[in-house]
Symmetry: none
Subunit: 211 residues, 4 copies
DNA sequence: TATGAATGAGTCTTCATTCAT
DNA sequence: AATGAATGAAGACTCATTCAT
């Protein structure tokens, strides 16, 4: 019933953010269902009561956390692209950096990544936020590519592949740990496939390892 | 501690299976955490007590369900491959069929698919089962390819790509529903990339739509 | 409603006794409340259903067990007295034997003794049985003393002291294990006190260790 | 694990004590196994939830109750001794008072006494607490005797007899209710035996009723 | 008689949320 | 604005007892 207060004073805002930060952190670490509001209150050094002045319910904390903190975990590759001055000539090396960055993100926050993936598939609200975030990221990458003079059709679809193929690869690299997989080969192949998407087969061909 | 009974009579086995079936179904539909043992008992038309004669706990039902029923949901493409007589000449069309089949599976059991994906990322035991199942599927597909005379290096890695790219594509086709995406184009592109993995760029080139 | 059947055939009687024996054994070992009817059925190699043809309920098994098997555990001293030919002249040595026998009984079936003591104090029916048993034992000992020509007043009361002082002593000897207690001294003193009850202080005086 | 809160405010402490008091009372009355947490909550006029903020589990309430309230029930004789100024000259009368006090305690809280005796024999933790309490009481009595100039050997052992003989007697007086027992005689005899332990047979002899 | 599968009321325990201060 | 005590509905799980065969 709109009982949730909008914090006005600076201190209140800080308190609210503290709860989001520590609450989200806990949820990412132990899983949403294994974190209680008391845990959150303790980790945030506030009382349980105050939580319900800033949030409708426990779920609300999750949502706020996802909105604020999930970008680095779920979409880490954007940063690499942003910082590349001459993308067109360094595409291959940039891809490798993106993979590296994504892999690092997965490794550093393995638990967080998996918990968020889990929530994405079980929590409709999280799902929608991620969908939105993904679209925005797609558009940003598209914009960068435009700046760098990439002229291809169906750019959004290709960017989608770009993002998901890197993600898919890094999931394997970080968690699945299939014995006997040749990871360097897989990285190479992924890069090749992506380049094939954005250039043409002449380039692609050169990159083939086995030929 | 081993208090779980092994059913002796035929009827007991039926009861156990009934619980697994309805329990797993409920979990897939409403999410593991939103299903209670009473729900499962009611859906299975048994009493709550009997559940604990056949299962250690609620989680045990999930695991048994995953073991029995997740193949069709998570790895539907294998069946298509199995039934193809002349794979080498029909590879492209087979891929399209695999995509179609996978998409159907996703669509039919959308909730189940997502709940299982969720559990895969939050439940270590489910994760391990899926890892194992994936490896087995990979090996089966590899064997089929061998039978059909595919001679390529790093076959396991390529099969991995094959499976996950189809999966990735069908997730998009079924759930994400990005507005304005050209899905036919994405299917085509996926097929092209996979063929490029198993054949060479000459073939790949021919498949390119935009060139 | 009198549904409990009285076993007629030899085999049925054996089955009933088997259940009592193993059930009572389990209860003595693990405690009445920590033994389930399934445990009893398993230990007795019968089905759970059959138990309720011979017994009204779980408690009934306990009662039957107490009636049949508790004598040796709770009143072991009688046997020693029975077998003494010249009690009057060997009273001191007989007492020592009774203590020894009682101590052994306590030590051998420590768990059983304690569980039964526990039930005696929490279960009214067990309490009544033990009360009855104690009275019978008291009377038997009294009879033996009469046979051996003991002529004292308030014999029942003294026999009561005899029994309980030995019991009290042996509880200490077997379970309490107070550090630094001089047990030989305590045994001696107990014997002296009992003899003082049945003879007179002249005898008693001679037995004093610290004289 | 350590989730039990330590009450901070005065009111919380009162609540905790309320639960211990009423919970322990119930357990003493109806028996530990016949009291549910809901019973305890109702009797304490609190909700079930609050119980688990102050106690690990139901058993924990029992233990706290035993620690706080069992002294008066299980070791009531100490108080009498403490208040006697000239113990040496009033030993006989003091013993009689101790017996009277103990008998009263048994009679007033008959159920409690028996339930605690029951638990002492079935619950290891209660057993250990009582063992400890008994040792402390033994030492306190020993100290009082020392103050009053009693000089005897094996004092601890004799105090042990003193305590347990009174206890044994009062159990009979209060609960067993053997028909036809001459209780006054038994009291007298107990006093005589105890005095014989702490004085000598000259005294003892004088106390003999039947001679 | 005998089996063991099935029942379901009852138990302990948790935890999101509210309330008195 | 803040505290943390209190609530109580809901959950997992047990087990004495009954029932179909």
């Amino acid at each position: 019933m709109g009982k949730v207060r909008q914090p006005i004073h600076q201190k209140s805002i800080a308190t609210k953010e503290k709860i989001i930060k520590h609450g989200f952190q806990l949820m990412c670490e132990k899983g949403y269902h294994h974190v209680s509001t008391i845990d959150i209150a303790n980790a945030s050094h506030v009382s349980t009561g105050i939580i319900y002045q800033y949030f409708r319910d426990k779920h609300d904390i999750l949502i706020e956390g996802v909105k604020r903190y999930s970008d680095d975990i779920m979409f880490p590759m954007l940063e690499v692209l942003k910082n590349e001055a001459d993308l067109k000539n360094n595409f291959e090396i940039t891809l490798r950096e993106m993979i590296q960055k994504t892999k690092e993100a997965h490794t550093i926050s393995e638990k967080a990544y998996r918990q968020l993936k889990s929530l994405q598939n079980s929590d409709e609200e999280v799902f929608q936020i991620f969908k939105q975030k993904e679209m925005e990221t797609t558009e940003k990458i598209e914009a960068i590519l435009n700046q760098h003079g990439f002229e291809i059709q169906n750019k959004k679809e290709r960017v989608h592949f770009l993002m998901h193929m890197i993600d898919m690869l890094c999931q394997e690299l970080s968690y699945h740990q299939h014995q006997n997989f040749n990871y360097e080969q897989m990285i190479q192949e992924t890069i090749r496939m992506i380049m094939c998407l954005f250039y043409d087969c002449t380039t692609c061909k050169k990159l083939r390892i086995e030929s």
